[in-house]
Amino acid sequence: MSALGFNLHAIAAIYRFEMARTWRTPLQSIVSPVISTSLYFIVFGGAIGSRMQAVDGVPYGAFIVPGLIMLSLLTQSIANASFAIYFPKFTGTIYELLSAPVAWWEAVIAYVGAAASKSILLGLIILGTATFFVPLRIEHPAIMLLFLVLTATTFSLFGFIIGIWADGFEKLQVIPLLIVTPLAFLGGAFYSISMLPPFWQTVTLFNPVVYLISGFRWSFFGHADVSLGVSLGMTLIFLAACIAGVGWIFKTGYRLKN
């Protein structure tokens, strides 16, 4: 333990452990999400995109890139983090974490940090891959990275909560499949929400994913459905809500301790 009273060795140990799992399963962790996203680039960017109208002056193939990266980022962050904490609960090895001199927020930093690192890495690989299929420019790389980190962190936290809440593999899948994937597809990954009828435009504003995709797209093209400030604000609100949720779980021992 360090003099400051932080268990930095524990954070490092968990982080390394989780990252090692990624390198042990590169096909599942990296190759497979990259390939499935690349298929979208080929189909919508290369094949169909050339026959589609440009959206707000951006060729369709390029327009969908930020949304598709966000889509991968969301699903991979949730999957990484939920599995990372669910699996020790399932096998029983969590006894060790619960009996260790580790504060809840240290465990969260380590697990969520590892899950977010993986999906940020994945997002960058997908971005690199996209340049093979569609011409791309990034006007605000720093903002782009900021959204990448914020989204990966927020949804890793969200996944962590799901992983603790789930008491079976089905529950582990149900929120990503039934809520997150629809929200992501309807969040403007493939279209600008200005293309929707006015009523559905209003409905869409209740979808948090709209703000993530919009803010991320702004960093690429300098304009988007929602202003940068609103996108950033909504992302931070969701991040704060997830932190509060995790804090509550550890304070009460919910699903972790009797």
Binding site: M1, G5, N7, H9, A10, A12, A13, I14, R16, F17, A20, R21, R24, T91, G92, T93, Y95, E96, L97, L98, S99, A100, P101, V102, A103, G253, K257, N258
Partner: protein
């Protein structure tokens, strides 16, 4: 064995290394797993916690180690409150749980180093190597845990618990489903740890293990500690055995000459049961057999049995009621 980084244990220290007072646990289901537990474990001793299944052994250990929240009461481990000062308390404790739960895909080396880090200690490859060698795991260090046998997995769990050089080691049913070789290795290691000043608390429902290993024994039943005794004293109390003789010819009554033995004759007259004290200087068996032969009573078979621990618990609980 790893050199313990803690301060040398002074024999004059009287403060218990674990002090449990007024501890109770009622689960959300309403099940009262622990009534009111008061228990002190002495620094440097091997303490065996005996009790039938479901008595509360694992609940008690789980509370001390931070896995279960107590309903009432306090626990101090190595002078630290396990809740207010959980970091210091937990850093002093190593736990080998009853269930074999390991990360299937990790290597032995990775998982033991992970445990050390988790408990806040910097990497120490030489120390981890010593632990693995002592547990005969060194040649398996790069093997994935799922490829190990059950006994080897148990060794891995012990290595994980020792990786951060705890001053208190909990072994929850360490010999359940363990082969003779591992059992002997384990007891040898436990003794050496004790010699280095580590306090060891083990749970078991085998009285022989407590007999072989422990300095003191506590008996827990239905969520209550019903006695804590020096082992020697307890063995004297519990060391009763029964010798059963199956007779060739049933007898209707026992000869007067054998009255001093307090024999019991079975209803059909075919069996004689003699209860004796294994700890006594003379068990009286030789004299009894001579007496039987002089009385012309012949037997065709004999067997001895020790009252099972369960029986002893039942009688202990009855005595208290």
């Amino acid at each position: 064995m790893p050199s313990m980084s803690s301060a040398p244990i002074s024999p004059a220290t009287t403060e218990p290394i674990i002090a449990v007072s007024g501890l109770s646990k009622t689960y959300a289901t309403g099940f009262s797993a622990l009534k009111t537990i008061d228990l002190e474990i002495r620094r440097g001793e091997i303490f065996a916690l005996l009790g039938p299944n479901g008595a509360g052994k694992t609940t008690l250990i789980s509370i001390i180690c931070g896995l279960v929240r107590p309903s009432t009461g306090t626990v101090f481990a190595d002078g630290h409150d396990i809740i207010r000062d959980y970091r210091a308390a937990r850093a002093a404790i190593g736990l080998v749980p009853q269930e074999l739960t390991t990360d299937a895909f990790e290597t032995v080396w990775a998982t033991v180093n992970f445990s050390r880090g988790l408990f806040g200690k910097p990497r120490a490859p030489a120390l981890v190597e010593r632990i693995l060698r002592e547990l005969s795991l060194w040649d398996k260090k790069d093997t994935q845990i799922r490829r190990l046998s059950g006994g080897m997995k148990r060794r891995v769990m012990i290595a994980k618990a020792l990786a951060h050089e705890p001053r208190i080691l909990f072994l929850d049913e360490p010999t359940a489903g363990v082969d003779v070789e591992l059992r002997q290795d384990m007891w040898q290691m436990v003794r050496r740890l004790r010699d280095e000043g580590v306090t060891i608390i083990l749970t078991t429902h085998y009285i022989e293990e407590a007999e072989e290993m422990a300095d003191r024994v506590g008996v827990i039943s239905k969520g209550e500690i019903i006695l804590v005794e020096e082992k020697a004293e307890l063995m004297r109390k519990l060391g009763k055995k029964e010798l059963t003789l199956q007779l060739q010819q049933p007898v209707s009554a026992l000869p007067e000459t054998l009255a001093e033995f307090g024999l019991r004759l079975s209803a059909d007259g075919g069996e004689i049961v003699y209860t004796y004290d294994t700890q006594a200087e003379r068990t009286g068996i030789t004299t009894l057999l001579q007496g039987l032969s002089e009385a012309g009573i012949r037997f065709r078979d004999l067997s001895t049995s020790q009252s099972s621990l369960e029986d002893i618990f039942v009688s202990l609980v009855k005595e208290r009621a």
